[in-house]
Subunit: 143 residues, 2 copies
C-alpha cells in the first residue's frame, strides 16, 4: 500500500514553510493547480485564489516569509483515493511580531498522479484577525 | 443502496431552519451528540460548542430565529460510510435586518445508526462579521 498523497504533500508544505525547501513541494504540485485560501486578502496578501504551479509556489514563499509552524493537530480527516478533507489546528508564530497564533482551518485537497490539482482552505478568519491585531474587535450582539 | 445519513440530516436541518419543523431533525440527532460551530459567540450566540440533543435542538431554534436559507451550493464533498465532510456556500437572509448574507463554511459530520453524533463547522467568520455589520472592518496590511 502506497502512502496517501496528502501525507507527502503535507510534509513537503511544512518543510517549505519552516525550512524554505521548496524543491520537494514543487514536484508535488500540478502545472494547472487551482488553489484558494478564503480570507481577507487586504490584511493577508497570501490569502485568495491562485492558479498554476508558479503562482502557488510564490504564495507558499510568502507564507514562509510570514509564519513558522510549530505544531499541527488533525481534528478530523477523510481520505479518498485521490482526495482528502481535514480539519486542522495549527500553532504558528507570526515572524514579524514573534506572536504565537493558534489557527483552526479546514482543507479540501485533490490529487492527480500524486500531484496536487486543487486545494481549498477555509479558515476561522475572525479569530485569526483578532490574534494578528493582538486585540479584540468589538462586536455588537445580534441575536 | 440506502441514502447517506448526510442527505437526510441536511434536509431535516434546512427544514428546521426555514419551516421551524424540528421533529424530523430531532429524530436524526443522537442523545450524546457533540456539536461545534467555531466563531465569535459574543456576536453570534448560536455559535460555539453544544453537547447533547436538547442543547443542539435549542441552538438550531436560535439559528432558525435569526436566518433563512435561500440557497446552498456544495463546493466539495467527501462521504465515508458514517461520515461526511463538505465545503458549502450558503445564501441566507438575516431575519432582523432582512440583509442577504453569503457564507462559506466547511462541515465535518459523523453518524451512528443514521443519527448525528458529531458535527464541527468552520466558517469564514471575518467575511460573515463584515456582512452582518454591513460595513468593512479596516485592517492593516501585515505582509
Amino acid at each position: 500500500m502506497t502512502e496517501h498523497s496528502l501525507w507527502r504533500f503535507s510534509r513537503a508544505l511544512h518543510r517549505a514553510i519552516n525550512e524554505r525547501q521548496f524543491d520537494e513541494l514543487e514536484a508535488l504540485i500540478d502545472d494547472d493547480v487551482q488553489w484558494a485560501i478564503y480570507g481577507p486578502i487586504d490584511m493577508f496578501p497570501f490569502f485568495g485564489a491562485r492558479h498554476g504551479r508558479a503562482a502557488v509556489l510564490e504564495v507558499c514563499r510568502r507564507i514562509a516569509d510570514n509564519v513558522r509552524v510549530h505544531r499541527s493537530e488533525r481534528e478530523s480527516i477523510m481520505l479518498g483515493v485521490d482526495s482528502a478533507a481535514s480539519m486542522m489546528r495549527y500553532s504558528l508564530t507570526a515572524l514579524d511580531s514573534n506572536k504565537p497564533i493558534s489557527l483552526r482551518l479546514a482543507q479540501f485537497a485533490q490529487f492527480k498522479g500524486g500531484r496536487l490539482v486543487s486545494l481549498r482552505v477555509i479558515v476561522d478568519t475572525f479569530d485569526l484577525v483578532e490574534q494578528t491585531l493582538g486585540r479584540p474587535i468589538h462586536l455588537p450582539k445580534i441575536a
